[in-house]
C-alpha cells in the first residue's frame, strides 16, 4: 500500500525522490516545491492533518546540514506520510513556511526556529517559543552542549540587581554514555563524553558565542 502511494505521488512530480524509512512512506521534496506540494497533499490526496513539524541537524555527517521533517495524516484512510526537505544554506538555514496551510504549523515552526535556528520565510510571527526572547543559542543543534552555555539572565533589571547569570549545568564532564560500537570494551564503558572539564578544572570558555542573526 505504501509503495502504491509513493508511485502515484512521484509519477507526476519529478522533483520528488523516495526517502528511506523504517515505517511510513516518505519522500524528499526540494524546498522550492514544498508549499505547493503540501497544499496538493492536503487538498487532493486527502492528507488533511499536519501532525508534526521538526528538523534534524546532521552536523558534520551530511550536507546540507539541516533537514525539516513534516508528518502528515490522512483521516479517511488512517495513513501517514513523511515529507522531508533540506535547507539550502548551512550558515543561515531557511525554509518556506506552511503556516498558511495549517494553523498548527505556526507553533511547530516557531519551535523549530527556536531549537535549530531555521528561519521560516513567510511565517506570520517567527519568535522563540520555549526559550526566552533574546536567548543567543539554538539548543538542539549538535554543537550546543548538553550542559548548556553561560548566558545573560532573561530579565535585565533582575540581572543587574542580583548579578546573576544563567550558567551551564554542573555535570562534571557528563553525560556518561557508552560508546556505541567498535573498539575494545574498555573504550566503550560509560564515561564522560567531554572530559576536558570536571569539578576541579572548569569548562574552558568559548571564544565568541554565536550571536542570533536577525
Amino acid at each position: 500500500m505504501s509503495d502504491e502511494l509513493l508511485t502515484t505521488l512521484m509519477e507526476r512530480r519529478t522533483f520528488l525522490s523516495a526517502r528511506p524509512s523504517a515505517d511510513h512512506p516518505a519522500v524528499n521534496c526540494p524546498a522550492s516545491h514544498l508549499v505547493a506540494f503540501l497544499r496538493d497533499l492536503r487538498d487532493a490526496e486527502g492528507f488533511e492533518m499536519l501532525l508534526d513539524v521538526t528538523a534534524v541537524d546532521w552536523a558534520e555527517s551530511r550536507r546540507p546540514r539541516f533537514t525539516c521533517v513534516y508528518h502528515l495524516f490522512d483521516l479517511e484512510r488512517s495513513r501517514y506520510l513523511r515529507v522531508a526537505s533540506d535547507c539550502h544554506e548551512d550558515a543561515n538555514p531557511t525554509m518556506p513556511s506552511v503556516a498558511g496551510l495549517w494553523a498548527t504549523a505556526d507553533w511547530h515552526e516557531r519551535e523549530t526556529y527556536d531549537m535549530f535556528g531555521i528561519r521560516f520565510e513567510g511565517h506570520p510571527d517567527l519568535r522563540r517559543i520555549l526559550m526566552w526572547d533574546g536567548y543567543p543559542y539554538y539548543p538542539l543543534r549538535k554543537d550546543f552542549p548538553l550542559a548548556g552555555e553561560e548566558t545573560d539572565l532573561p530579565g535585565a533589571d533582575v540581572a543587574e540587581h542580583t548579578d546573576a547569570r544563567v550558567s551551564a549545568a554542573p555535570m562534571a564532564g557528563g553525560p556518561f554514555v557508552s560508546g556505541t560500537s567498535g573498539g575494545p570494551m574498555s573504550e566503550r564503558e560509560p564515561r564522560a563524553k567531554d572530559e576536558s572539564w570536571t569539578e576541579n578544572a572548569p569548562k574552558p570558555k568559548k571564544p565568541d558565542p554565536t550571536k542570533e542573526s536577525s
Binding site: 508534526d52 488512517s78 501517514y80 495549517w102 560500537s181
Partner: protein, 412 residues
C-alpha cells in the same frame, strides 16, 4: 427592555463595537499565570481586555522547558524512559508505553500477548487517571468543588495500584524496550477489578452531579466552540478533536499493542463546545473501564518480555544472577544500551490528552541520534489565541479546563 437582554454577551460585544472609538486606549492587558489556579500549571496568558471581553490572547509557554529532546540524544533508550514519566505526568505510565512502542517499531520487535495486555491495562488506567483529574478540575473551574473530591479520591486508588505494579506511585518507569520491567504481581488483576467495581458508581454519581446540572450546562453549552475545520487545522487531537466531531482514535484506526482484540466505542461530539468535551471524556472513562475488564478477562499466559530480543531487553534479575549468558547480556545492555538498527520512525499512540508522537532518527546503537516529542498539549494550546478571542473573562477558566492540557508535556 428586559433585564436579560441588557446583560447578554452579544449585547456587550455590540455595545463595545459601537463605542469602540471612545474606548480606544482603554484596553487593559493582564497576565494570567504563569502561576494561577486556572492555568493548571505554568501556562501564562497575556490577555488584552476590552472591559470584560478578551480582544487578544497570547499564550506564553516554555516555563517548564527542560530540554527533554536534547537529553534523549545523550543517553540510551532505556535511560530515557524515566524522563517520559515527566511528560504527561497526570498519566505517566502511558508515556512509558508509547515511547517503548516507538523504539520497538524501530527495532521491528513484537512483544508477547501477555505484555501487550499488561500495557493495555496500564494505558487505560493512565487514561482513567488523566480523565478523572481532568473532569475534576474542570468541575472546579466551573465552580463545582465536590466533583474534584470524588475524582481525586478514585485517582488515589490508581496510584496505589501503580505502586503495587511498578514500585512507584507517580513516576512509574515501568516499561522497557522489548517488554515491561516485571510481571504483574500476584492478585493485582483482582485488585484492578475491585477498583473498577468501586469506580463505576462514582462515575455515575459524577454524571448525575454535573451532566444535567443547570449551572454547569449554562456555563459550558455553546462556550468555546471549536469547529471541525479549526480542530483539524490546529492539529488538535484526543478528546478535544473528537468533541469537534472528528472520529480519530488511533486505538481503533491504527491499533497497536493488541487494541484490536478489545471492543470499545469512540465517542464523538456534535458541536465542539466545552460541554461536548465534558461528555466525550465522561464516556471515555466508561469505555476505559470496559477495556480494562476485557483485558483482565482475556489476560494471556506467557512471558512479559520478548526473550528473543537479546540485544534489547535486560533479562530478569533471577536469570542474571544464575546464568553466565544472561549476565553478559545484562552487562552489555547496561553499558551500551539496547542495540537498535539504523532508520527513521514516527510512532504515535492515543494518549489521554491526544496523540503523543515520537520521531526517532537512529544511526544504530543504543542512543538515538535525534528524538522529537510531538506533544498533544502543545498543539491543543496553540488554538487559544483564536478560541479566546471575543469571550468573556469569566469563560477563560472554563475553556482552559475543558481543553485539559498539561504543561510538562507541552514544554518538554
Amino acid at each position: 427592555m428586559s433585564r436579560e437582554s441588557q446583560i447578554s454577551i452579544g449585547d456587550v460585544v455590540q455595545r463595545t463595537a459601537q463605542f469602540e472609538e471612545e474606548l480606544h486606549g482603554e484596553r487593559m492587558t493582564i497576565n494570567i499565570g504563569p502561576s494561577h489556579p486556572a492555568t493548571h500549571g505554568v501556562l501564562r496568558l497575556k490577555v488584552e481586555l476590552d472591559g470584560e471581553v478578551v480582544t487578544r490572547c497570547e499564550p506564553v509557554v516554555g516555563y517548564l522547558h527542560r530540554g527533554d529532546e536534547k537529553i534523549a540524544e545523550n543517553m540510551t533508550y532505556n535511560q530515557f524512559i524515566p524522563y517520559t514519566d515527566r511528560l504527561d505526568y497526570i498519566g505517566p505510565i502511558h508515556n512509558n508505553v508509547t515511547f517503548s512502542l516507538a523504539a520497538e517499531k524501530l527495532a521491528s520487535l513484537e512483544v508477547p500477548p501477555r505484555c501487550q495486555a499488561i500495557r493495555v491495562i496500564c494505558c487505560e488506567l493512565a487514561r482513567l487517571q488523566s480523565h478523572l483529574l481532568g473532569l475534576g478540575v474542570y468541575g472546579m473551574d466551573t465552580g463545582a468543588m465536590t466533583v474534584f473530591m470524588y475524582t481525586f479520591t478514585e485517582r488515589e486508588k490508581i496510584y496505589s495500584l501503580m505502586e503495587m505494579l511498578t514500585g512507584a506511585r507517580f513516576t512509574t518507569s515501568y516499561t522497557r524496550i522489548g517488554g515491561v520491567a516485571r510481571d504483574v504481581p500476584e492478585g493485582w488483576l483482582g485488585k484492578v477489578l475491585a477498583f473498577l467495581d468501586g469506580l463505576e458508581p462514582v462515575v455515575e454519581e459524577i454524571d448525575q452531579m454535573l451532566t444535567r446540572n443547570r449551572i454547569f450546562c449554562d456555563r459550558t453549552i455553546g462556550c468555546g466552540v471549536i469547529s471541525r475545520e479549526d480542530a483539524i487545522s490546529y492539529g488538535l487531537t484526543g478528546p478535544n478533536l473528537r468533541a469537534s466531531g472528528v472520529a480519530l482514535d488511533l486505538r481503533r484506526d491504527r491499533p497497536y499493542s493488541g487494541y484490536e482484540r478489545y471492543e470499545f466505542d469512540v465517542p464523538i461530539g456534535s458541536r465542539g463546545d466545552c460541554y461536548d468535551r465534558w461528555l466525550v471524556r465522561m464516556e471515555e472513562v466508561r469505555q476505559s473501564i470496559s477495556i480494562i475488564r476485557q483485558a483482565v478477562e482475556k489476560m494471556p499466559e506467557g512471558l512479559w518480555y520478548n526473550d528473543e530480543a537479546r540485544k534489547i531487553y535486560v533479562p530478569p534479575k533471577s536469570k542474571v544472577l544464575t546464568s553466565m549468558e544472561e549476565l553478559i547480556q545484562n552487562f552489555m545492555l547496561v553499558t551500551e544500551g539496547p542495540q537498535l538498527p539504523e532508520g527513521e520512525v514516527y510512532f504515535e499512540a492515543e494518549n489521554p490528552k491526544g496523540l503523543l508522537g515520537f520521531y526517532i532518527v537512529s544511526k544504530g546503537g543504543g542512543v538515538p541520534y535525534r528524538l522529537k516529542i510531538r506533544s498533544p498539549s502543545f498543539c491543543n494550546l496553540s488554538i487559544l489565541p483564536k478560541l479566546l478571542k471575543g469571550v468573556m473573562v469569566a469563560d477563560i477558566p472554563v475553556i482552559l479546563g475543558s481543553l485539559d492540557f498539561v504543561l510538562g508535556e507541552c514544554d518538554r
